[in-house]
């Protein structure tokens, strides 16, 4: 059996080569935009240009048609070619809008699918223990990535149009009448300034509004979760009044904020309306000959109408953008936690994908100077040494919180020691490839999960090559039959979401059968019999004894219960400062 090879590598984990994981994603402020495909900005700029040109042609055709009909007083027949052209232009405008939407829908869907896949990849490398529970991880995957939708679906394309279209149109107005162009350029007191103004107002609006809505949701959830208490006290009427009162309060506070916040968009509306009004009066006076300054004298109905028609089109993209501002705020809000999840540290940074030593029949485990502390807490293991011989069984005992489960998690590779190392038959556990680790270790945790599917599927997923016979015999050993027999479908009964609910103890028995099905040299069992009565526990232990003898397994077993004391070879009592070893109680089966 190989002994420890190079002690310096164990005592100095820094000597272990960290396998380069994928580079940390760039987390600058452009991150959101960079998630979109590269073609997006050029293609949407081109589409906006096209739309601007269509708007120009539309205005020019309407203006010249009006000029020909009203001033030249051409016959209707003479107008027909231009009218057909106008129809084509108008239809093209509708078509371009449809195409834009078609394209952007695909972009948003693609980004969300890609980000979710990346997130899952990250979760598979890093686990979710660094996050605030399953709930937070699910929320990031589901709601928060969904919150990016508005940014890609609306804000991003609109911000491109809001830059391109007004610029092109103002240049066109300048070419017809520089005074009108100047007027528009002033009325849009330089669009960026507007954007800041609107942006600030809209941001304040959405922040306040969304915060108070979120508060209301929280409070409402609190009421809903206390519904059984309300029913017990028969206080239904009071609860309904409280709901009504509370929303009324929300209305009062929100309206106070909105009164101010809506002003900023009103300013934008106002400038747009005033620009149209001023242009109309300027053009009108120029045509009547009241104005003799600058280009006013050369105005015609055609150029005047052209300029007037463009005025609202200049403001339209900016107004649309200001309405979509909360999409950006939503996305930015969600972004922080998405980014955080994407850079979670990997659970096994030293794993070498190509390092898969053969799984031998029996496995010896060495702990060398292992230190471990959960982040921000005092060390739970300090310079611990332990050797577990191949085929040996040890029992971990000690008060709850002493580190039994932590040690088991270290052996299962879920946690990494801060210092020191663990070896399986002389191979560093930290360096084993994930596949090799899985082949070495069978683990049963304290709160195991059952997945929706049949009981047999749940057991069988432990080892893909297992046949039905093996599954049934493991179900027997773990006493799954005891309750499965009460279900009409037996082991084929569907459990989990949408099926039979299992109690914690029953789920644990299914999970034990799953763990036993795996023919691994190392077996880690954390309180496997907690839910069984004494007779049941003895039966399970006896059956496992036979199985593990046959397989020559190395077993680490954590338990509070006495029955296991005679089942193992050695007992390790885990204390605050030191571990004490005891011989097993007599009467090992």
């Amino acid at each position: 059996m190989p002994t420890i090879t190079s002690s310096d590598r164990i005592n100095n984990p820094d000597a272990l080569q960290k396998v380069p994981t994928e580079p940390t994603p760039e987390l600058d402020s452009d991150w959101l935009r960079k998630q979109a495909p590269r073609w997006l900005v050029p293609v949407f700029t081109a589409l906006s240009m096209l739309e601007a040109l269509i708007v120009l042609s539309q205005a020019a055709l309407v203006a010249t048609l009006a000029f020909d009909a009203l001033v030249v007083q051409a016959a209707f027949e003479a107008l027909i070619p231009s009218l057909w052209l106008l129809l084509a232009v108008l239809l093209a405008r509708g078509a371009v809008q449809g195409v834009r939407q078609w394209l952007i829908a695909g972009v948003s869907a693609g980004v969300r699918i890609r980000l979710r896949r990346r997130l899952l990849h990250r979760f598979s490398l890093s686990g979710i223990d660094q996050l605030n529970g399953t709930g937070q991880a699910a929320t990031i995957f589901d709601e928060q990535i969904e919150a990016l939708d508005g940014y890609y679906q609306r804000f991003l394309p609109q911000s491109i149009s809001a830059l391109v279209i007004p610029a092109v149109l103002i240049i066109a107005v300048f070419s017809q009448d520089w005074l009108a162009g100047l007027l528009l350029a002033l009325a849009v007191p330089l669009i960026p300034m507007f954007m800041v103004l609107v942006g600030l107002g809209a941001q304040q609006l959405s922040e306040t509004h969304y915060r108070s809505l979120a508060q209301l949701s929280g409070w409402f959830l609190d009421q809903v979760q206390g519904a059984s208490t309300i029913r017990l006290f028969q206080a239904e009427a009071a609860a309904l009044t409280a709901v009504a009162d509370r929303t009324e309060q929300l209305r009062l506070t929100t309206m106070r904020v909105l009164r101010v916040a809506f002003l900023s968009s009103a300013v934008l509306e106002f400038f747009s309306a005033v620009a149209i009004a001023t242009l109309a009066i300027y053009v009108g006076m120029g045509l009547l000959g009241y104005l003799t300054v600058g280009p006013a004298e050369s105005l015609t109905l055609a150029s005047g109408l052209f300029v007037l028609l463009l005025a609202p089109e200049i403001f339209l993209p900016i107004r649309t953008l200001s309405q979509g501002w909360h999409d950006r705020a939503d996305a930015k809000g969600a972004l922080a936690s998405i980014k955080e999840a994407l850079v979670l540290a990997p659970t096994r940074p030293f794993a070498r994908p190509d390092f898969s030593p053969a799984v031998t029949e029996a496995c010896r485990i060495d702990l060398n100077q292992v230190d471990f502390a959960y982040p921000g807490r005092r060390p739970i293991l300090r310079s611990k040494d332990l050797t577990i011989h191949a085929g040996e069984r040890i029992l971990l005992v000690g008060p709850s919180g002493c580190g039994k489960s932590t040690l088991i998690h270290l052996l299962a590779g879920f946690l990494q020691p801060q210092h020191g190392g663990i070896q399986f038959n002389g191979h560093h556990l930290a360096e084993l490839s994930q596949e090799s680790l899985v082949a070495h270790v069978s683990w049963l945790g304290q709160r195991p999960t059952v997945f929706s599917g049949t009981i047999a599927e749940n057991i069988g997923m432990g080892w893909r090559d297992a046949n039905r016979e093996a599954i049934e015999s493991m179900a027997n050993i773990a006493r799954v039959h005891e309750f499965a027999e009460r279900m009409p479908e037996g082991l084929n009964a569907v459990i989990g979401e949408g099926g039979h609910g299992l109690s914690g103890g029953q789920a644990q028995r299914v999970a034990l059968a799953r763990a036993l099905l795996r023919p691994c040299p190392v077996v880690l069992l954390d309180e496997p019999t907690a839910s069984l009565d004494h007779a049941g526990e003895h039966a399970v232990l006896a059956a496992m004894d036979e199985l593990f003898k046959l397989r020559n397994c190395t077993v680490v077993y954590a338990s509070h219960r006495r029955a296991a004391m005679s089942w193992v070879d050695r007992i390790v009592e885990i204390g605050d400062d030191q571990w004490t070893e005891h011989p097993a109680k007599a009467g090992k089966t």
């Binding site: 009006a66 009909a69 009203l70 009218l83 239809l91 509708g94 809008q97 449809g98 939407q101 896949r117 598979s124 399953t134 699910a138 929280g218 809903v224 979760q225 519904a227 059984s228 208490t229 029913r231 017990l232 006290f233 028969q234 206080a235 239904e236 009427a237 009071a238 609860a239 309904l240 409280a242 709901v243 009504a244 929303t247 209305r251 309206m255 809506f262 309306a273 149209i276 009004a277 009108g284 006076m285 120029g286 045509l287 009547l288 109408l305 007037l308 082949a439 683990w443 945790g445 195991p448 059952v450 997945f451 929706s452 997923m461 432990g462 309750f483 979401e497 039979h500 029953q506 795996r518």
Partner: protein, 566 residues
């Protein structure tokens, strides 16, 4: 009333605000159309007058009108946004009251079993979704229809042909296209509503079992499946979006076609001398407003589908597990005299009680027998997990026995009407439930009409008077998040005080002193003792000291009662 009809038929005040918002939206649109129209008229008339084609025109009246429309549109738009938000927030209240009403139709038993699942937070999310139905769907749809009919009237006044065109394009063809788009997207919408919760459940299960999956090397295949399901979900969304995109393109083309047809007819009518030149310009410029009205409606289908699904889920909530006695029964609590009932003899007789959480589960209570005579106090001890809490819930009517019977005053508890049971048997649950509300309101849950002095009295029994004196807002102090954060022991005592305020002549107390330090528990127990006199009390506690005096102590183990070894 279903949730959807609550949304479509708002209550009186809300409805008035909504109508006002719709009116203001119409004013905004009309003012905008007229701003552009009159501006066009001014330019056309000036051009013609400048060339001597028509007589000289007065520029001041149209000039003033243009300025008025410019200001009017801005003001109307500002007010419309304000009022529509006001109306939306009003509907928010209606919707929440409606949903809570639905929820409270369920029996306490059903509600208690829902507490730990995802159902309630999903209800909250669904209600949040429905908040936007008015501003995003109803307001634009009604405004578009109403303004179209205004246009029909106005253009009809000029010439009937123009009215027919408007009616045909904007009131018939475009709504038809929208309806077809809605029908086409309905399948995807339903799929989305069905798949969404499934995908979420599958995801949550995978994340919760991540370590298990990792230990058996199944993370990659499982996550591939999560990814696939998510892709299928997003694909359905995309299908809806693509229908929306096509609908948007079609509606835009049709709406512009309408403008073009109006322009064409107006030019024809001009040639026939039936319309004046400037009016043609007014017509074409004002009709552009119709395009802006109808376009946003093409994009509401995805949202509509989401809303329908949310509304259906809220409806389903009220259907299953309904209780016979509905909300109006709550007034019963008020009618019961404030001193506890003395005419009844509240006694329990439990025979062969068995309880399993599922038919295939292990029995939690296995053939239990117990007599609790009126006015008696019994303490049941036992290790955690022995079935004490289950027994308490059975006696409080929060669970139904699998077999055996609990008789209350000689009649099975399950056959007694819910309101009567709930106004006689008080239950202190193991988990303290307090609401984000004022201290007084939390207490008055038990008796709505209790005076401040009565509240102080019960707070004094549980030794919270010193705390109350420190609170600047006294009884009006807000509890929970944004308010006073109480310790576990204080919360426990508030819950106890609340129970004391109720009309109960029978009390089930599950771990009454949990979270209290020994000294406080001793004082509270002593103060509680006179209050409990004359009432039938069952205490469930793994601790035996620091409790009010009892007549009998029993011990529970593996679902059975044993005489206590003390």
């Amino acid at each position: 009333m279903t949730t959807w009809s609550t949304l479509l038929r708002p209550s009186g005040t809300t409805l008035r605000w909504m109508l006002l918002a719709i009116l203001l939206a119409m004013v905004t649109i009309v003012a905008g159309a007229l701003l552009l129209g009159v501006s066009g008229w001014l330019i056309a008339a000036s051009a013609m007058a400048g060339l001597g084609l028509i007589g000289m025109i007065d520029i001041f009246v149209p000039g003033a009108a243009i300025r008025a429309f410019a200001v009017g549109r801005t003001v109307a738009r500002y007010l419309e946004r304000l009022i529509s938000h006001h109306a939306t927030l009003g509907q928010l209240a209606d919707l929440r009251v409606h949903s809570v009403k639905r929820l409270l139709q369920r029996s306490p038993e059903a509600l208690d079993s829902m507490k730990n699942g995802d159902t309630l937070s999903r209800l909250t999310r669904d209600v949040d979704t429905l908040d936007h139905v008015f501003p995003k769907l109803i307001l634009p749809a009604i405004t578009a229809l109403a303004c179209t009919f205004l246009a029909v009237l106005a253009y009809g006044w000029l010439h009937a042909r123009l009215a027919w065109i408007t009616l045909l394009v904007y009131a018939l063809v475009i709504p038809l296209v929208l309806w077809v788009a809605g029908k086409t997207s309905a399948v995807s919408g339903q799929a989305l509503a069905r798949i969404g919760p499934e995908v979420r459940a599958h995801l949550v299960e995978s994340l919760a079992g991540l370590r298990t999956l990792s230990s058996i090397g199944q993370v990659a295949p499982r996550f591939d499946e999560v990814s696939q399901r998510n892709r299928a979900f997003v694909q359905h969304q995309l299908d809806l979006r693509r229908v929306e995109a096509i609908a948007h393109g079609l509606v835009a083309m049709l709406a512009y076609c309408g403008v073009w047809l109006l322009f064409l007819s107006a030019l024809q009518l001009l040639g026939q001398g039936l319309l004046s030149g400037p009016i043609v310009v007014v017509l074409v410029l004002s009709s552009l407003a119709l395009v802006d009205l109808w376009l946003p409606l093409a994009n509401g289908w995805l949202f509509l589908a989401t809303c329908r699904a949310s509304a259906d889920r809220i409806d389903q909530l009220g259907q299953a597990g309904q209780d016979a006695d509905v909300i109006t029964a709550s007034s019963a609590a008020v009618n019961i005299p404030t001193s506890h009932c003395t005419d009844g003899h509240p006694d329990f007789s439990i025979r062969n009680l068995c309880f399993r959480y599922q038919p295939w589960g292990d029995p939690v209570i296995a053939g239990l027998n117990l007599d609790l005579t009126a006015g008696q106090r019994i303490l049941i001890g036992g290790a955690s997990g022995c079935g004490k809490t289950t027994l308490g819930k059975l006696l409080a009517g929060l669970l139904t026995p699998s077999s055996g019977v609990i008789e209350f005053e000689g009649m099975p508890l399950t056959r007694r009407p819910g309101p009567e049971v709930r106004s006689r048997i008080g239950y202190l649950a193991q988990q303290t439930v307090l609401f984000n509300d004022s201290l007084a309101n939390n207490l008055r849950l038990a008796r709505a009409g209790a005076s401040d002095d009565e509240l102080r009295e019960v707070l004094d029994i549980v030794q919270l008077s010193p705390l109350l004196e420190q609170l600047p807002d006294g009884l009006d102090t807000w509890l929970g998040e944004s308010g006073l954060s109480v310790s576990g022991g204080e919360a426990r005592r508030i819950a106890l005080a609340r129970l004391l305020l109720g009309p109960f002549d029978c009390l089930i107390l599950d771990e009454p002193m949990a979270g209290l330090d020994d000294a406080t528990a001793g004082v509270v127990a002593a103060a509680l003792d006179p209050f409990l006199r004359g009432r039938t009390v069952l205490m469930l506690s793994h601790e035996r000291s620091h409790l009010p005096g009892v007549d009998r102590t029993l011990s529970m183990s593996q679902g059975l009662l044993l005489p206590s070894n003390e």
